[in-house]
């Protein structure tokens, strides 16, 4: 294992043991890399009009939805892949993957007992609670309603009756298309237009499942809603679509988690998430993204090309994105806020950790359109190993966005001298009363900090973990409670051994 040849410069202050542990990183540490053997129902390989029709038929979709998909597919054919992001990967062969994979089981299980036990076992292994009574029995556990999506279908959604009592709709998007077509037609693609970008258009044509949330007027969602995404099948892409609508004066907090098995091939995950917040509504969207990042040589891993956008459509509405990015071979996502309503507010808190050969190009967009809108961006990037970690963010104030206010802080931390950290902000002020502040720093953990911690008896790795946790604290505190603990552990795992 002690293969030092491919480390270009070995600094004198790094000891061998550290290097060893850096080298042994990622593969061994990815604990969600198992594969579950579940028989699957797959679409024919490749992308074509037939694939689109196949997916639509599988989902029993109405005619308008099929038309919508076909229209997206036609537009997709006219688009070319974007190349501006600071990520490098071989051309993705869209014809060499499956666009639909569903666990084969009895159609539409009525209750959890009818769900394939192997599936339940898999989610148990991932630590996702699907059994309502267990969750209910455990007093300390906070209430979380879960929608579990495996490959192309939603497997199970918990706590639906309880939510229905207050008028909340929480179901898979496929179900929503069938049961609530009016809502879906009104809001789908109203935030991310069908042909918004290459991957969003692809998603519009072939999306398979995802979550749908509707919070009626004046309702404060009594529990955290959560979707858990899992790619299991080989050579499949996951294309999920999430739509969250918060009517006036409502509130919802939504969590999203993702994992995938370890494979030496690259799998594509191209999701679209749309949020709509009406007058005085608030949506809090948290993600812990832990897709398989590839092995130590950069082989395999998920390509995570995601379009996430929230529309603060109503006055004084608020959308906040919190994300912890530790997985994926390549991350390419910019959760954004369109601050359309007067007095609306957008927030973005992000921790992006890259190690091994991961490439992260992530950030946000805050588009100020309404008067007195405000936004805040806190981004912490941590690069280790051979990774590249880029923050790319846009803040723009439209000419009519009087008194728009933005504060951006993006800090990067480099661990080791074979990684890179980059910051690419786009700051566009088109009106005199807009006040924008942006600051960014890049540094390594200072010797003073390390000395202080070690002198008090912490070993080197504990000291790094402590300092890094302090570095990301601004973001962590915006995560829901149950994610915070998980995240702190994740950070420890992702950085373990990367002391330098």
């Amino acid at each position: 294992m002690a293969d030092y040849d491919h480390i270009p410069t070995l600094k004198e202050n790094i000891d061998r043991a550290t290097v060893d542990s850096v080298l042994s990183l990622d593969v061994d540490k990815y604990k969600y890399g198992f594969e579950t053997d579940i028989e699957s129902d797959m679409a024919p390989k490749g992308l074509s009009e037939d694939t689109v029709r196949f997916i639509s038929a599988k989902k029993n979709e109405p005619e308008w939805m099929l038309e919508w998909r076909l229209d997206a597919y036609k537009r997709f054919l006219t688009l070319t892949e974007p190349t501006w992001a600071k990520v490098h990967y071989p051309q993705i062969d869209l014809q060499d993957m499956y666009y639909y994979a569903a666990p084969k089981s009895t159609p539409a299980p009525k209750s959890l007992d009818e769900v394939d036990p192997a599936l339940i076992a898999m989610y148990d292994k991932l630590g996702v609670p699907l059994r309502e009574r267990e969750i209910l029995a455990g007093v300390e556990r906070p209430n979380v309603a879960v929608d579990a999506v495996m490959d192309s279908v939603s497997v199970v959604t918990t706590f639906r009756e309880e939510l229905a009592k207050v008028g909340i709709i929480f179901c898979s998007i496929a179900e929503a298309i069938r049961e609530h077509p009016d809502l879906v037609r009104k809001y789908l693609a109203s935030v991310v237009p069908v042909s918004d970008n290459y991957y969003a258009t692809l998603n519009s044509a072939v999306f398979t499942d995802g979550s749908f949330v509707y919070i009626p007027k004046g309702v404060r969602c009594p529990m955290e809603l959560s979707t858990y995404f899992r790619i299991n099948e080989k050579k499949t892409g996951q294309f999920e679509r999430t739509l969250i609508i918060a009517e006036a004066d409502s509130y919802v907090s939504y969590l999203e988690g993702c994992t995938a098995p370890m494979r030496d091939e690259n799998q594509l995950h191209a999701a679209v998430v749309e949020l709509v917040a009406l007058d005085n509504a608030e949506i809090k969207y948290s993600t812990v993204q832990n897709w398989y990042p590839g092995d130590k040589d950069g082989k395999g891993g998920i390509y995570n090309f995601v379009t996430k956008r929230g529309d603060c459509r109503g006055a004084n509405s608020k959308i906040s994105w919190t994300q912890v990015e530790t997985g994926s071979a390549i991350t390419w996502k910019y959760p954004s806020c369109i601050l359309r309503g007067d007095g609306s507010r957008g927030e973005f808190y992000s921790i992006a950790i890259s190690n091994g050969h991961q490439q992260v190009d992530s950030g946000t967009k805050m588009i100020h359109l309404g008067k007195n809108t405000s936004s805040r961006i806190i981004s912490k990037g941590i690069a280790a190993g051979f990774s590249d970690n880029t923050y790319r963010g846009q803040v723009s104030a439209h000419a009519k966005a009087k008194n728009a206010r933005n504060f951006t802080q993006c800090d990067s931390l480099l661990i080791g001298d074979t990684c890179g950290a980059h910051t690419v902000p786009y700051i566009e002020s088109r009106n005199g009363s807009a006040v924008f502040e942006h600051e960014a720093t890049t540094s390594k953990i200072s010797d003073d900090q390390m000395f202080y911690c070690q002198q008090r008896g912490l070993n080197e790795e504990e000291a790094v973990a402590l300092i890094v946790n302090g570095f990301v604290r601004d973001v962590l505190q915006h995560l829901p409670m149950e994610f915070m603990v998980e995240t702190q552990k994740l950070i420890a795992i992702s950085l373990e051994g990367s002391v330098g």
């Binding site: 480099l414 700051i427 924008f436 600051e439 890049t442």
Partner: protein, 402 residues
């Protein structure tokens, strides 16, 4: 899956292709035919879409037979002049200065349309070798004279080890709609100390493009000041590379953008070796319906440990229709570095205005005072008194709407 879209060429591009072909630069002509002028899709021209902004290109310049009044005179300066790309005869050089001429462009090749064009079209370059410390300010007066013309000129300056100099370049000329494409290459020897000031004072109808390239050897100290107070469309590019340890540079600039103008300052600073430091400080002021663009990029290469770089962009909007667009980038590959950037943007502070006006200072005057305070940081470090005064004069003139 990937298709290449054929580029639709406009009249400006057609003229450029013809001009490149006429001087025998067929490779550059081909490049222009294939790629055209950069659009906002080209990342380094994100905010300055030359394809839309540069509508026409006048014919290639012929030697000038008259000269307009000098735009800026600095008492006691040693004067050199390039008019319409032709290096003019000069008076006796001060001690330590060798003036000469060389053929062709001066910049190292890079993937940039302005650099390519200058390299192909500049016929001769003024060369300056500074062998020791030079006392008087060296002023290079670069002109676009006569009828509207496409001018490409070049200057190459070497500053020997331990040499020092203050070099001022001014760009001006007749009121015609010139397109000026200027290049300057400045290499600093070991422990050389140089202040390099470029001031664009060309006519509002003209387009001003300048690419300045710097190379800093061990222990060199450089201060650059890029001032835009002229052309309706301009882009100044600063490419700098640190090649010796212990070098330090302050890159500063003022982007004064008036109604109807689009002015862009783009910098690309590369720390290539360990133990180098840089500070970037750019101020932009926009009034009327105008666009001020700043794109800053600091690259810290793998070996450039112990780099300390700080970039700051501050924008001041004097009207509601103005736009200030900025993209301060950091690209860092070394871990033991301290790098930061900041960017702020806003209008004049109401409280300060109130403070001044409540003490009986008229509004316009109060504004001027605050603006002067805002830009002082950039001009104050220029020690030569006559030069400092001249530069302040330009800012005052701009503020008065000249």
């Amino acid at each position: 899956m990937r298709q290449t879209m054929p580029v639709r060429l406009g009249p400006a591009e057609d003229t450029l292709i013809a001009q490149l072909t006429s001087v025998g630069a067929s490779a550059e002509a081909d490049r222009m035919t294939v790629a055209g002028l950069p659009t906002r899709r080209v990342e380094s021209y994100h905010y300055t879409d030359l394809k839309t902004l540069l509508k026409t290109v006048p014919p290639l310049a012929t030697p000038a037979n008259q000269a307009s009044a000098p735009a800026l005179r600095v008492a006691g300066a040693y004067q050199l002049m390039i008019a319409n790309g032709v290096v003019q005869g000069a008076s006796t050089a001060p001690a330590g200065v060798i003036v000469g001429k060389s053929a062709g462009g001066v910049l190292t090749s890079r993937d940039d349309v302005l650099v390519h064009l200058n390299g192909a079209l500049a016929r001769e370059a003024l060369t300056l070798t500074l062998e020791s410390s030079v006392d008087p300010v060296i002023q290079i007066d670069r002109r676009c004279e006569g009828d509207a013309a496409h001018v490409a000129d070049a200057v190459k300056i070497f500053v020997a080890d331990n040499g020092s100099a203050v070099i001022l370049e001014t760009f001006s000329g007749s009121d015609a709609a010139h397109v000026g494409n200027h290049a300057t290459y400045l290499a600093l020897g070991k422990n050389a100390v140089v202040t390099h000031i470029t001031v664009d004072l060309s006519a509002k109808a003209s387009s001003h493009f300048a690419s300045n390239e710097y190379s800093l050897a061990e222990g060199a100290k450089l201060r650059t000041v890029t001032i835009h107070a002229g052309a309706g469309l301009s882009r100044s590019q600063v490419f700098a590379r640190f090649v010796g340890a212990g070098a330090h540079a302050d890159f500063t600039g003022l982007n004064l953008v008036a109604d109807g103008q689009h002015n862009d300052i783009t910098i690309d600073i590369r720390h290539g070796v360990a133990h180098t430091t840089s500070q970037e400080m750019y101020k932009q002021i926009a009034r009327g319906r105008s666009k001020a663009v700043f794109q800053g990029k600091i690259v810290v290469e793998r070996d450039a440990q112990k780099t300390d770089a700080k970039m700051m962009m501050q924008g001041l909007m004097l009207s509601d229709e103005a736009e200030i667009l900025s993209k301060p980038e950091l690209e860092i590959y070394a871990d033991d570095v301290v790098c930061g950037h900041g960017s702020t943007c806003g209008e004049l502070d109401e409280d300060s205005m109130f403070y001044l006006m409540s003490r009986g200072i008229p509004k316009a005057e109060a504004e001027t005072m605050l603006v002067r305070g805002f830009i002082a940081e950039v001009l104050d470090p220029i020690e030569d008194e006559a030069l400092n005064e001249a530069l302040n004069g330009i800012v005052d003139g701009w503020l008065l709407g000249k």
